[in-house]
Symmetry: C2
Subunit: 241 residues, 2 copies
């Protein structure tokens, strides 16, 4: 079974509810992707106004988390789902927690963008940050896409991309430290660059968590705390069965 | 209703299962508290050996998360809990995610302790870090205690303590930045102090999350994304009813 078939329910109504929850998660994911994109653009382009919209928009992400959470609790209480349906609800409850925390990181980046827009700094760190931001957004997009298509292979591929994020993050870190040592006056603004890079790296981790929940949901196998190689093996073996 | 009465179930067996889950969460919490304590001691005392035990002990935290998660899924599938029982299971699923992430932060601090044990640095930053570490551990302890006693007032009090953590964290940050500016050679080791302080501050946030889940569990009210004042009001109003 390559894709989870949630289409064969006795209750059409229940089907529609599960579908609605999935769509709301994807909608929340799209909103969060947008928040990241705007936060990173605001940082790179020194656009405080755009950054303000990210900060003031975070409440929408929070509200969606609370709403979807409630919907999941209602479904658990009234529908008493089992097997894949139950795993879907548990995966959703976990996924939206990570999406909400990604939203918090985007807000954090936006706040730094506001501070950094006022500081006088060379632009090269921003270019690296912009690249890191784009890659992080791609991973989140791929993770959500894997979730939309219930595709564990795509989830493993997205999780694997997180390694690239870690390398890019370490590269920025080395560069920033050199810069700080050469010019101690740059320490305070450089620390903001560090926090922004750190926030992006954390978003990559959250995206990877979402991939792991999806694999658990489709395969019924908990792949957290295992290596990428093990994760790939699990998915391939389940494929052969 | 001041405490949740989970003792009036038709099924004694179900009762025992819920009790077991709660005890396992508290056990996991105790283990995580211990990991923080050892990580901070290792950092302050420059004890690499102790730090190694924290790093090698993290798998136990991870294993508990996976095991409790599975137990919760089984209970959801077989027992189809409703109302408070359902909220307990959802709160547990969320709480153990935060406990696992706290474990990761403790491991992170331990890794820094290993690196910092080799560096030559004045001790004063370590004292501040040690204090911050103790306060963070206290908050987590209070949060878990509130969970054990199902006491939302205690949860609000613990959540309120997180503000003190943030202040202490900001104090350390200011101190470290001054230090870096005075002596650029200290930048690399000082960054490790920053990461350790940051990790402790994050643990405080996770402990606060646990408080919020507990309030949701007992009061049936979602208090995330609200201010401490609102949280307190919710708990007090529910108390009057």
């Amino acid at each position: 079974m390559d894709k989870v078939d949630i289409g064969q329910h006795i209750s059409q109504q229940f089907n529609a509810e599960l579908e609605e929850v999935r769509n709301r998660v994807l909608g929340m994911g799209g909103l969060v992707e947008n928040q990241i994109a705007n936060a990173v653009t605001a940082l790179v382009e020194r656009d405080s106004e755009l950054a303000e919209t990210v900060v003031s928009g975070d409440y929408k992400v929070n509200a969606l988390e609370v709403a979807i959470d409630e919907q999941c609790s209602h479904i658990l209480a009234r529908r008493q789902p089992a097997a894949t349906d139950l795993r879907l609800i548990v995966a959703v409850i976990k996924t939206i927690t990570d999406l909400e925390r990604i939203g918090d990181q985007a807000e954090r980046i936006a706040r730094m963008a506001i501070r950094l827009a006022e500081a006088e700094q060379p632009k090269n760190q921003y270019i690296e940050l912009g690249n890191l931001g784009n890659h992080v957004r791609e991973i989140l997009h791929d993770a959500l896409d894997a979730f939309a298509r219930m595709d564990p292979e795509a989830a493993v591929a997205a999780a694997r991309e997180d390694l690239r994020i870690d390398n890019e993050y370490n590269g920025i870190m080395r560069q920033v430290i050199t810069f700080m040592m050469e010019d101690p006056r740059s320490i305070t603004p450089m620390l903001d660059i560090i926090w922004a890079a750190r926030a992006l790296e954390r978003i990559g981790d959250h995206a990877k968590n979402i991939c792991e929940y999806l694999i658990y949901l489709v395969r019924g196998k908990d792949v957290r705390h295992t290596s990428l190689e093990q994760m790939e093996k699990e998915v391939q073996e389940a494929h052969k069965k």
